[in-house]
Amino acid sequence: MSTLIRAAHLCRYYGSHCAVRDVDFSVARGEVLGFLGPNGAGKTTTMQMLSGNLAPSAGQILINGIDLLDQPGAAKGQLGYLPDNPPVYRELTVQEYLEYCAALHRIPRQARFQAIAKSKRRCALDGVAGRLIGNLSKGFQQRIGIAQAILHNPEIIILDEPTVGLDPIQIREIRALIRELGSEHGIILSTHILPEVQESCSHVQIIDQGRLVLHETIAGLERHMNTASLSIRTRDPFDFQQLSVLPGINSIETITPEHCRVHHDLENNPAEGIAESIIASGAGLLALVPEKKTMEEIFLALTSRYESEKPCA
């Protein structure tokens, strides 16, 4: 797989405030990278640097092997960018606007009509082509912004919070579109909606206070989520500590006499043994549930860990 975007040691300072610190990642063709982080974590700053709107204080950005800082013209030709506010001209019609964007991206005149038609179809804009953008809703404007970003069939598509302002049905359509585009392009999208990443991304990256705290595939993230613990409830009080003799159990946390949590090895699931010994004791097994961490918990755990360890100076 070819690397389409490569960011190395990106830093960005606003005065003495450090917004992005030593961020390092790459995206290959066929990957959809979800950029997660709380508000003010540095997502938009990173996006602006990748799209050439903001110069990094230090570091290098390679777009399809071309240095964005040395050859901005050639590098930007491979990019489609949707900023956090869709950059639409309210006084133009959708068709006029897309024609202007096509011209700006040097799409040859004879190919323009087709490119615009394709982009409009993908973003479901056919019905509003003749209307003034200023009269359309926020959801339409957002889709026009996406249409503009994919118009010139760029290698890399950077979407800053693409589903903001859309209704649930449109969100589903856009996520499907992102997955579809992801098969032949490299996509970076930022969001603070966690399920969005699970649904449309192949890789996830969490940024907090300007620092990358996690870079994982979605499968890796799922592993993070399937932490090895079981929640056990019984009808009558039961001495859970006696379970510790079973193989694979690391620790036992007794919450109430009838409820405990067992941490165990991932490879060696002791659920069967636990069930047998509780049933044999006659305490009455009510529940034996593998616990799943939610994405929110992982997110909070990752972001708060760094907060306590090294505050961003």
Partner: protein, 252 residues
């Protein structure tokens, strides 16, 4: 180069999408036509007396030159209104990233916007020029002087537009850009009014003043110094504007 024209034509079309360009064109024509007619009345009243004077000023001097002079002053008021939204409104509406993330250099963006406004100003000059040309129906014109006046007006408008564009790059709000460029233009225009008071700065002030260069050209004396003044002036502010756009990437 093609990108410059793409942006320029978009800018020109956008100007005509709002009622601003249309109403300015209409009102400008109305005011200048009124001035033009008053000049012709004055000329008619003087005509008999002038006939007896040798080397008397002709109709070109008495009607055309004042017309272009007043056109420059009216456009000094109007140009800031046309240039104010060029960059500052894009920044306000957050549409600037569209241009910046497209494969276009900053100088192409700025020159495109500049040419768009200059094209509108040229349309205005054309509309104004129709008035003196209508005099051909009943008399003769000194075409050399007329052309010198047209050139002077075009050059001065190019300088107005360059300042307006630069201030639009600086300002966060279009109104601020308009006020700023208006104040700046007015100052440069009237700079030599005070020249008599401070004799030591006399020459510098007179050189800096747009009015004296404009009037030199208007007399039909096409001096490269005056032409260079306006060209350098416009180029300086365009360069400053490009620098300003570059700077935006570095600091926010």
């Amino acid at each position: 180069m093609r990108m410059i024209f793409t942006i320029a034509s978009r800018e020109l079309k956008t100007l005509f999408l709002s009622p601003l360009a249309w109403s300015i064109l209409g009102l400008l024509q109305f005011i200048l036509a009124y001035l033009f007619l008053t000049q012709i009345d004055a000329y008619n009243a003087l005509q008999l007396r002038l006939a007896n004077v040798e080397t008397a000023p002709g109709i070109t001097d008495l009607v055309v030159t004042p017309l272009y002079g007043s056109a420059a002053i009216v456009l000094l008021l109007v140009t800031p209104l046309l240039t104010m939204r060029l960059v500052s409104e894009e920044r306000r509406n957050k549409t600037l990233p569209l241009l910046i993330s497209a494969p276009i250099a900053n100088h192409e963006i700025l020159l495109g916007k500049y040419l768009g406004v200059v094209a509108l100003l040229l349309i205005m000059v054309l509309m104004i020029t129709i008035m003196p040309l209508s005099l051909l129906a009943g008399g003769e014109l000194d075409f050399g002087k007329l052309l010198a006046n047209i050139l002077a007006l075009i050059l001065v408008l190019a300088a107005f537009a360059a300042i307006g564009l630069y201030l639009s790059c600086l300002a966060s709000h279009p109104t601020l850009a308009a006020i700023g460029s208006f104040a700046f233009l007015l100052l440069l225009w009237i700079l030599d009014w005070t020249a008599g008071l401070h004799s030591e700065y006399n020459e510098i002030l007179q050189y800096l003043s747009m009015l004296s260069h404009f009037q030199n050209l208007q007399t039909g004396l096409i001096d490269t110094r005056d032409i260079c003044y306006f060209l350098l002036f416009s180029a300086t502010f365009l360069l400053l504007g490009i620098r300003r756009l570059d700077y935006e990437r570095l600091q926010k």
